[in-house]
């Protein structure tokens, strides 16, 4: 039983690095190009124009703060919960775009001119959301309840 503990700690750290690293990378790409990210959000046709501009400025910073919090283990449960929530929103937006046959770039990792496969982006947002929930469940303040 004692031998399992270090393995679990390593596995949790790998998950943390994967989740935090992915969100940090995605955030930096979008922070660099807010106008292009606003265009990507616009292509989903879900929000009014002023809201897409506000979201394009705010969302990448929230992703960056949450990923930093996960990696630094400060406010970790809250950051994981917010990441899971964001993944849920991405999942709904991407699925709705896929159902409406929109030929768009998901904008997940900044703007690219090429359209990316939406099913792959949907699967990725689901996987990252589940990973965030798994880590949330393992947080000391949550698992001790």
């Amino acid at each position: 039983m004692a031998a399992i503990q270090p393995m679990k700690t390593i596995a949790l750290w790998i998950c943390r690095l994967l989740l935090g690293g992915t969100f940090a990378y995605a955030a930096v790409q979008k922070i660099a190009e807010p106008t292009a990210f606003a265009t990507d959000i616009e292509h989903f046709r879900l929000l009014p124009h002023p809201l897409t501009l506000a979201l394009a400025l705010y969302l990448p910073w929230l992703e960056l703060f949450c990923s930093a919090a996960v990696l630094a283990r400060k406010y970790e449960p809250s950051a994981l919960l917010l990441i899971a929530l964001m993944c849920g929103v991405f999942f709904i937006a991407l699925t709705s775009a896929w159902c409406r046959d929109l030929d768009i770039n998901c904008g997940c990792f900044g703007h690219s001119n090429a359209t990316s496969a939406l099913p792959w982006a949907i699967a990725r947002s689901l996987a990252l959301g589940l990973l965030a929930l798994l880590l949330f469940k393992q947080s000391p303040s949550v698992s001790s309840q």
Binding site: I31, A32, E33, P34, T35, A36, A38, T39, E42, H43, H49, P50, L53, A54, A56, L57, Y58, W61, L62, L64, F65, C66, A69, Y75, P77, S78, A79, L81, L82, R100, D101, L102, D103, I104, N113, A114, S141, V142, S144, Q145
Partner: protein, 149 residues
């Protein structure tokens, strides 16, 4: 006497609010100071969309631009259309400039109402080449097919 520690749920909510607020500060600054910050407006800037019946009434010469993928263009396109999409912008733009006539009205189209490539290409042409007589075909290639089966 010391205060009782906050319950974990309250602590999580409080820290979430902290993170949400912290992200707001650089976001506001970015909206103001970022060199590539979006231009604030209440409505989406876009190129005027026109339908086929309106285009048929125009007397000016027309230049059609196909903003779809190369594969879709090779398969079928509006007669005389030029391929120009964002994926291969640098390679395709010289050809457009070669055949472009200043007195022609430019109409850009993509697959259907569900694509934004035509708006993106039209906006880019407007921005980079300062073209004014440029329009987007409503419902794109799908509407062309409907009228020209």
């Amino acid at each position: 006497m010391t205060a009782a520690p906050a319950s974990p749920t309250r602590q999580i909510l409080r820290d979430s609010a902290r993170l949400l607020f912290l992200a707001l500060i650089p976001a506001i600054l970015a909206g103001w100071l970022h060199p590539k910050h979006p231009v604030w407006s209440w409505s989406k800037p876009g190129v005027t969309e026109v339908n086929l019946s309106e285009i048929t009434r125009w007397s000016a010469p027309l230049s059609w631009i196909d903003a779809r993928s190369s594969a879709a263009f090779q398969k079928e396109h509006v007669p005389g259309a030029i391929l120009l999409n964002e994926d291969q912008w640098e390679q395709q733009l010289p050809h457009f400039l070669e055949v472009w006539q200043p007195n022609a009205k430019i109409i850009v189209y993509c697959d259907s109402a569900a694509c934004d490539a035509s708006q993106a290409v039209a906006l880019r042409l407007q921005r980079e080449l300062n073209l004014s007589s440029i329009y987007v075909l409503q419902e794109g290639w799908a509407s062309w097919l409907q009228s020209n089966p």
